[in-house]
Structures are given as structure tokens and as C-alpha cells.
């Protein structure tokens, strides 16, 4: 009788121990999956941020390099690049970089199509160079380009 009772207690302890181990295993597993998901989210958003920032800077500089002439408009938040009679107006407005191509002298910063989601654009002249700064969230990137 005692041995049966003893073995019963051992069974309970064993069962509780197994369940505790299972619980610990489950919690660890869920924590690791959560950590992996947050790491992926960080990598993905970091990729988006750096891609948008540097891609928009490269787009602007390539447009300026391919233009016959360009000028800064809208107090440094846009450029108008002229090439082959077509004026390409790229400007920042309402959380994005917009672009439009016009055949006239119209350099108004409106009516364009959104090409990038950015938080700010600033173009300033410095010692004969133009400094272009683009900000996305907390990050900002800048590049200098020679004046034309």
C-alpha cells in the first residue's frame, strides 16, 4: 500500500516536472520566435530606410548630372532641370518627393507624381557646390554636387 502511495507521489512529481519543462520550453520557443521576428522587422525597416534615403539622393544627383542646366526652386526644396527643351521639376511636398516633366517654363512645385516617401529635402549652396540633404525618419543623408 505504501509503495503504491509512494509511486503515486513519484508519478505526480514526474508529471508536474514534465509539464513545467514543457511550459519552459514553450515560453523559450515563443520568446525566440518573437526575437527573430523583431530582428527581421529591424533588418527590413533598415533596408527600407537606407534604400529610400540613398536612392532618392542618387536619383536627384543623376538627374542633375544629365541636365543641360538646373536651378534650385522653392527655397531649396526642389530643383528644375532642363534637358532638350523639357523641364523636369523635382520637389519635396507632403511627406514625399514628387516629379513632373513640363515642356513650358512652369516651375511650380505642384501637380507632380510621388516617386519616394521621404520626410524632408533641403538643397543649399556652399562654396560653389550644392549640398543636397534628404531625411527619412531619424536618418538623414547628404551629398555635394558641383554647380552648373
Amino acid at each position: 500500500m505504501d509503495s503504491r502511495r509512494g509511486s503515486g507521489k513519484a508519478d505526480i512529481v514526474g508529471t508536474v516536472g514534465s509539464m513545467l519543462l514543457f511550459l519552459v520550453f514553450t515560453v523559450c520557443m515563443l520568446a525566440i520566435i518573437a526575437a527573430a521576428a523583431s530582428t527581421y522587422s529591424e533588418i527590413s525597416s533598415g533596408f527600407d530606410r537606407s534604400f529610400t534615403g540613398s536612392a532618392s539622393l542618387r536619383y536627384l544627383t543623376n538627374k542633375m548630372r544629365g541636365a543641360e542646366s538646373y536651378e534650385i526652386i522653392e527655397d531649396g526644396t526642389g530643383i528644375a532641370a532642363v534637358n532638350g527643351g523639357i523641364t523636369c521639376v523635382i520637389y519635396y511636398s507632403d511627406g514625399g518627393l514628387y516629379e513632373k516633366n513640363v515642356s513650358s517654363e512652369d516651375k511650380a512645385a505642384s501637380g507632380g507624381d510621388k516617386i519616394f516617401d521621404i520626410d524632408g529635402l533641403k538643397i543649399a549652396e556652399k562654396d560653389g557646390l550644392y549640398e543636397i540633404s534628404v531625411s527619412c525618419g531619424e536618418d538623414s543623408s547628404s551629398v555635394f554636387i558641383g554647380g552648373r
Binding site: D11, G14, S18, G46, S50, S54, L129, S141, S142, F144
Partner: protein, 158 residues
Amino acid sequence: MRKLRAIKTVQPKKPSNLFLVEMIIAILFFSISGAVILNVFAAADGKMRRSETGDSAVLCAQSCAEAYSLKGSADEMAEIIFGNFEVLENGSLSISLDERCMPSSEGAITLIISESGEDSAAGTLKTAELVFIKNSEEIGRFVCSAYVPRISERGGEA
């Protein structure tokens, strides 16, 4: 009379034993897989950081190249882009940058700028080599140039 055969009962193995064995094997397998997957995450993170640094270095090199093309002098170029710089014994310039290639007093990246020139009667074609170094490892090398014409004395200002 039929003899009742003694029924020898075999105590079934306790299911909790099997469960424990299964748990142990599962934990073992999960640990090994987890270690491999963590390595993959670490590699992905390393790649991201390297490509971000590379991108920043390219933008910085582009700025330097444009400034050098305009000014024709590495000193003036460094002055405009970085503000301050250090001149090494061999005449090269050394600039300390952070991970985003912005000027920083205790940066992880060092930019070494060395200049050379090709003289001719009409002017000099100057070439600047920009080398980005991080942890004694070269992460980028760019070459840019500037043509500095000699103004004719007969034409006016020398």
C-alpha cells in the same frame, strides 16, 4: 480444473518517461537548429551593416570628388566637406569618420586622401585617391580628378 495461468502483468512504461525522452530530443534538436538560424541572422545583420557603411562611403566619396573637381586641391576639398583634417607625414590627408561617414573625432572609419598630378604645358591633371579604412580593412577606394589650367601670362592674370 483449469489451472489459471498466472497472469504476469508487465507494468506499462510510464508515459511521462516517454514524454521526457521526447522533450529532451526536441530541446536538443531545437538548440542545434536555433544555433544555425542565429548564425544566419547574425550574417544577415552583418551584411546590412556592411552595405549601409558602403553606401555612406560612396556618397562621401562622391561629395569629395565633386568638391575636388571644383577646387582642384585636396586641402580645400577636405575643408569644405569635413571642416578639419590631419596631414600625415607623406603629405596625405587623414579624416576620422563615423559609421555614416560623417566627421567624428573618435570615428570607426578613417579616410586617407592622397594626391598626385600629371603636368603639361597648359595645366595639371590632378588625381586624388580616397581610401576608406575600417578596423585596418579597406572598405572602399575611389579615384577622382581635377583639371587645373595654367592661365596664360600673356592673356592676363598669371
